[in-house]
Structure formats: structure tokens, C-alpha cells
Amino acid sequence: MQSVKLRRIVPQLALVGLTSVLAAGCLLEAVVPSSGSDCVTTVSKTITIATKPADPPMDLRLQNCRIDVDACTDLCALAMQRANIQGAPTKCSATFDGDLVSLGVSYQVANNNGSCGFADDVQPSNAGGGI
């Protein structure tokens, strides 16, 4: 009986939840299983932002990304920063859909395994620059 109720409720909750976070303008969702070595794990996530953010730095990078796919890395980097994700994107894709932009980002995190020493920093291209 409880199992039947759950089967009814969970998808509805998922739909409501998904709609809510999209409406809020920012969705953080793991879409690809993590992978990597013993020392470093590659994490992939989707970050969704509004296409007209009230955030001039984000707006600048968003506009740049729309007209030049190679500029999207900077957008992903800032979106990660805004989402309190440490590190630099190792992969970045963007899809503009109405009022929202979905950013597929991958980045590496150190596993803090004692035998690994310091994790290598992942540097974006043109290190030292910004946008």
C-alpha cells in the first residue's frame, strides 16, 4: 500500500521540484556519474541560469558565449563560482532555451587521499586572464 502511494507521489514531487528550481533561475543537478582516478574525481553537473541575469559579470559572459562558443568556458567558470564550486571547468557546454541557459560543466576535485600529495590545479587556457 505504502509502496503504491510512493510510486504515485515521487514522480509528481520530482516534477514539481524540477519546475520550482527552474523557476528560481538556478538548478544544480548531477547528470553524469563522477569518474576519475584515486586522487582526482571528475564531476559533471548542469547549472541553469537565466538569460537575462541581474548580474552584469554573468550577463557579459552569457552574451559572449551566445555569439562565440569558445567564450562559454568563462561563463561556466563564473557560474561555478557563483554556485560555490571550487576549481575551473575542464568541460563546458551551453544550451540557450527561452529564458534559461543550461551549462554542462565538468571539473575535477581532489580526493584528499594521503598518498596523492597535492592535486594538480586545473588551469584554463590563457591562464591569468579573465574573460
Partner: protein
């Protein structure tokens, strides 16, 4: 059933969300913007308006600092490139049109009414207002210093000084003029007579590259020589503070991953501040190198606050603005060691608004106003608070332009050695990897001048970018967009303007000689840009690509090694290749002078 439908809807939503979205453009947009020059904004004396010259969009914007709104947006002619500006006693705004060759005057700060447009020279740069004489002075790259009545009318004085003039500053009854590439300061008296010349001092740096170089002492120290003077402004006591660069006289060996940065990332070009005393002040103090307050590439602008106790410097290469007390200018220069200078801020932390490269700064009282051209936006910093206003005009984006002005991990940008898209007049020692080489000029039909570098070993710009930016400068991977964009963007930068001829008949005689079979110059220097792009041995110790001669007079020293300080030297026994480089040994000194007059006119 409901579960299946709901799950199906969810899946459909996800699929639609992924599949139907618009993808970013795979190809970069058309070229946008001009090289960063810095110093293109003022705040009016009453502190109410920021007047922004926007060379990237050929317009002038008046921004009300109280209401955070644009009150005037004045469209100029295409390629006018408005630059430095100044307010006169009547509240008129005078703007040097860098490429438009004119002085534009706005009736006031708010109405948007253009009161006049007066031709000045091919490339006006600095502009200053003298309240005692009610004159506006304009300095030109071709060496003219022209004075206009502020209220309108023709020039009342035109002096011919050295080429490459930059800022002009009123100093007592005289004027101070800076020169861009040499960072020289020239003091003129009220009659326009040169009183003194001064330059920021050469300082010592430890050579972390280990390569040695010119001036390397037994203590491992090398010379750091003043170059590119981005901006100079007066302090309240009449002294001049200059934001400029220094060239470290090391040997540039490529050591990955830091490239020219050597083992510790020491940039061969550093941001510097100098304090100079105009010659008319008594007692005259020698130029001083102030403490190395900022690090990073392209210190393009400097501003003094209303109280005169705080200075800000905009570093375009790392997108920061630094503030510090003017009292720190009294601190002596010191070698800040591996990784460059900085750390001298005493007014908060460096500002990074994350809006790209700041190109202009000014104070409204103690509020710091920063202009960012790309969005475009103005950010007003007041203590710990900051207000951002996005200006009309639309996004400006060019990945080639961005790359050109972005510093790499060693603190070096393309524009460090090619300021304003041209060159810094510096001779470098590339050691075993290239020998002595003068920085090459990029302005003027760059896409028609392949292959690149003195020996023509770089077939095209994308190859050059991988080698020079990616490896030598430690910049890492260059994107496809950057490779597609940089060439077309650079190609829009004109060659330096020629100097107006003093003796047109000498120029004509020189042209005749140049084009004669007797000298044979046109055998290699022909066509629209005066080069065949061939690689030739002209007796200068190697095979070199024939350089274009368009704008040649503006870029001493000459030849690949910079061995000729003047064009006349090129025809002397000092260097130049003798009769293997044209046939000119038979020419009389007067004929050489004619030939030089012609070359100066190109």
C-alpha cells in the same frame, strides 16, 4: 498509469530541454573594437558627470553620477576614435579624435551639442586646458603640439617637437609633454621652448631567468629600462606621476611552461610608476622610480582623487584597479622579486569587477569611477560599496582583441610589447633562439605581410599565436575563435601616420631617388605597402623578410637589430648592409637627406 504519464512528461521535458535549445555560435562574430589606449574618461569639475570617450563605438557618453543614468550619447563619425578629453573653464568638453584627426568640442557636459570640430593633425593624443590663457593644447604622434582658443577658432600656435607625443599637462606658465614609447618628459616654457628633458630612471632587477643580458652584473642584477608611458597626470604639488612600463634587459629564452617568464614567471615587462618634476619647478628634482605598487600588464590609466591624497591605477591586462595613498609615492623602488611587483595597496584590496579590462578611471571626489568598454558599464566605488550601471550601446566582443590585451601567467600581454597594436620601440635579446630583434610593428595591413617575424619563420598568424602567445608567453592553448579573430582585428589598425613634410621638394627628390634604378629600392620595397614579403640577404648578417615601409619614420630604431637610431644612420657605415641593401653609397649627404625626407613621408 499516472506514474507512467508523469514519468513520460518528465522525460519529454528533459529531452525538449536538451534538444531544442539554441547552441552558441560556432564561429566568432565580426571584428569589434580598437586597441586599448586608456585614459578616455573624465569627471566634470562639479563631480556630477562622467564623460566617457568610447573609441570602440565612436561616441561620447555623458553619465550622471547622481542618478546613474546616461544624459547624452553623442554619435561621432566612423573611425573617429575619441580619446583623451578635458573640461575648460566654461564647462565645454574638448576631445582628441585619435583617428579623426580633430579636436571635438562639446558645448557642455549634458546637452550633447557639438560646438565645434577643428582639424589638428593625423593622430591627436594628449589634450590639456590652460585656464590662464584659455587655450586647449593638443599633442600629436607626428610631433605637433597645437594650441587652440577654448571658445573656438583657429590654432594660435603649432610647435613641431619630437614624434610620438602622448600626454600634455599644463605646468606653471609652461607645458609638459610626454612621449609614448620612450616615457620621456619634455618641459616647455611659455614661449614653447624646450627647457628640459627627463626620463624615469633605470632601476635594477635580479635576473631570475638565468639568461643574463644587457647590463647583467656580477651580482646577477640586470637593468630595467623605462618604456611605454601609458598615462601621466599632475599631482597637487605640480609634480608629474606617470604610469609606464619597464623592459627587463634579460635574455628571452623560451622555457615552458612559463616561456619568457623563466623559472619563476618573471615578466620581461613590468608595470611601473615614476614621479617626475617639470624643469620649470625650483628646485628641480631628478626623476624617481616609485615603489613598485602594482603588478600586471598594461597599466593604462592613472587618476588622482579630489583631495589629492589617493591615486588609482587601472591594469587592463589582469582586469584590476589598484588604489593607494599618494604618500606611498615617496617610498623607494625595490626589487619585488620573482613574480613581479605589487602589494603596495593601502586603500583596500585591488578591485576586480569581473567586467573585463578596465580602460579608464576617474574620481568624483573620493568616489572611484571605472569604465569597462565591453558590456559596456560604469562602476562607481564609494568606500566598500559599488554600483554598476550598464550603458546603452550593446555588447562589444572580439576574442582576438581580448587575447591581445589579456596577460598570461607571467604577466605579459601581446599589447605589452605592441601597445596600441603597434610596437614599443624596444630591442630584445632572444639569445640562441633568435639573437637581437627589435619589436615589429603590427599596424598597417598585417594580413598582407605574411610570413611573420624578421626572418619570416612564422607562416601565418595562427601559427605565430601558438608559438609566441601559447609557448613563449606562457599563455597556453589558443582557441579556434581567437585564431580566427586576431588577424582581422589587427588588420584594422592603421600604420602610424606620416609627418607632414617640412620641405615638399626634398620629399619629391627623395621619391625620385627611391624609385630610380640607380638605388634599386623598389626592387624589394614596392606595391601598396612597399614590400614584396620576400626573404633577402641585404648584408645585415642574415636573411630577413623585407619589411613594409609604410609608417617607417615613426618606428626608430631601425633594422632588425635596431642598430640605426635614425633613418640617416641606416645609410651610414654603422649598419644597414651597405650596397647590398640598395645602392646608396654613391649618394651625397644632401641626397641621403632627400631620401630620408621621403621615407619620413611614407
Amino acid at each position: 498509469m499516472i506514474t507512467r504519464i508523469t514519468t513520460g512528461l518528465l522525460l519529454a521535458f528533459a529531452v525538449v530541454g536538451c534538444a531544442d535549445g539554441e547552441q552558441p555560435s560556432p564561429n566568432p562574430p565580426p571584428s569589434w573594437g580598437v586597441p586599448i589606449t586608456g585614459g578616455t574618461m573624465i569627471v566634470t569639475r562639479d563631480g556630477n558627470h562622467a564623460i566617457i570617450a568610447d573609441p570602440d563605438r565612436d561616441r561620447v557618453v555623458s553619465f550622471d553620477l547622481a542618478t546613474n543614468t546616461v544624459v547624452a550619447d553623442i554619435a561621432l563619425q566612423p573611425n573617429d576614435e575619441p580619446g583623451r578629453l578635458v573640461e575648460d573653464a566654461a564647462g565645454r568638453i574638448h576631445i582628441a579624435l585619435r583617428r579623426g584627426g580633430a579636436l571635438l568640442t562639446l558645448a557642455d557636459a549634458t546637452s550633447g551639442q557639438i560646438a565645434g570640430r577643428r582639424p589638428v593633425c593625423a593622430e591627436p593624443r594628449g589634450v590639456a586646458f590652460d585656464s590662464a590663457t584659455d587655450l586647449v593644447h593638443v599633442a600629436c604622434t607626428s610631433g605637433e603640439l597645437v594650441s587652440f582658443p577654448a571658445a573656438g577658432g583657429n590654432a594660435v600656435r603649432s610647435l613641431r617637437l619630437d614624434r610620438d607625443l602622448r600626454d600634455v599637462i599644463v605646468s606653471g606658465t609652461g607645458l609638459v609633454v610626454t612621449r609614448f614609447r620612450t616615457a620621456e618628459m619634455i618641459t616647455l616654457d611659455a614661449q614653447g621652448v624646450i627647457v628640459t628633458r627627463a626620463q624615469p630612471p633605470v632601476v635594477k632587477r635580479f635576473d631570475f631567468s638565468g639568461g643574463g643580458g644587457g647590463g647583467l652584473g656580477s651580482d646577477g642584477m640586470i637593468d630595467a629600462v623605462p618604456t611605454v608611458a601609458w598615462k601621466a597626470i599632475p599631482l597637487t604639488d605640480g609634480r608629474i606621476v606617470m604610469s609606464h612600463q619597464r623592459q627587463l634587459k634579460t635574455v628571452l629564452e623560451t622555457k615552458t611552461p612559463s616561456g619568457y617568464g623563466g623559472d619563476c614567471g618573471q615578466s620581461p615587462v613590468e608595470a611601473s610608476i615614476a614621479v617626475l618634476t617639470p624643469g620649470s619647478l625650483t628646485p628641480t628634482a631628478p626623476p624617481r622610480a616609485a615603489k613598485n605598487l602594482v603588478s600586471g600588464a598594461l597599466p593604462v590609466d592613472i587618476a588622482l582623487n579630489g583631495a589629492g591624497d589617493t591615486i588609482a591605477i587601472a591594469v587592463a591586462g589582469n582586469h584590476t584597479v589598484h588604489q593607494f595613498r599618494t604618500t606611498t609615492l615617496a617610498m623607494e623602488d625595490q626589487d619585488t622579486g620573482c613574480g613581479g611587483g605589487g602589494g603596495g595597496d593601502d586603500v583596500g584590496i585591488p578591485i576586480d569587477d569581473q567586467l573585463g579590462a578596465p580602460t579608464a578611471i576617474a574620481y568624483a571626489g573620493n568616489k572611484l569611477v571605472i569604465y569597462y568598454p565591453e558590456l559596456p558599464a560604469v562602476v562607481v566605488h564609494d568606500g566598500n560599496s559599488a554600483k554598476t550601471a550598464v550603458l546603452p550601446g550593446g555588447l562589444g566582443y572580439d576574442s582576438g582583441r581580448n587575447l591581445f590585451h589579456t596577460q598570461t601567467r607571467v604577466g605579459l600581454a601581446c599589447a605589452s610589447c605592441h601597445p596600441e597594436g603597434r610596437e614599443d620601440g624596444v630591442v630584445w635579446d632572444f639569445g640562441t633562439q633568435g639573437g637581437i630583434r627589435r619589436t615589429q610593428n603590427l599596424g598597417g595591413h598585417i594580413l598582407d605581410r605574411s610570413p611573420y617575424h624578421w626572418v619570416g619563420d612564422e607562416a601565418d598568424l595562427p601559427k605565430l599565436m601558438d608559438d609566441v602567445f601559447g609557448i613563449r608567453m606562457g599563455g597556453g592553448d589558443v582557441t579556434r575563435s581567437q585564431k580566427l579573430s586576431l588577424g582581422p582585428w589587427l588588420d584594422r589598425i592603421p600604420a602610424p601616420a606620416a609627418v607632414p613634410p617640412i620641405d615638399a621638394t626634398a620629399v619629391a627628390r627623395g621619391q625620385q631617388l627611391f624609385e630610380s634604378s640607380e638605388t634599386g629600392c623598389v626592387g624589394c620595397h614596392n606595391g601598396a605597402i612597399l614590400t614584396t614579403n620576400a626573404r633577402v640577404d641585404v648584408g645585415t648578417a642574415g636573411i630577413f623578410k623585407v619589411p613594409s615601409l609604410v609608417g617607417v619614420g615613426a618606428r626608430p630604431p631601425f633594422m632588425h637589430s635596431g642598430c640605426a637610431l635614425t633613418l640617416t644612420d641606416r645609410f651610414s657605415a654603422i649598419c644597414g648592409g651597405g650596397d647590398k641593401h640598395g645602392h646608396t653609397s654613391q649618394l651625397t649627404p644632401a641626397q641621403i637627406a632627400d631620401l630620408v625626407a621621403y621615407l619620413e613621408s611614407l
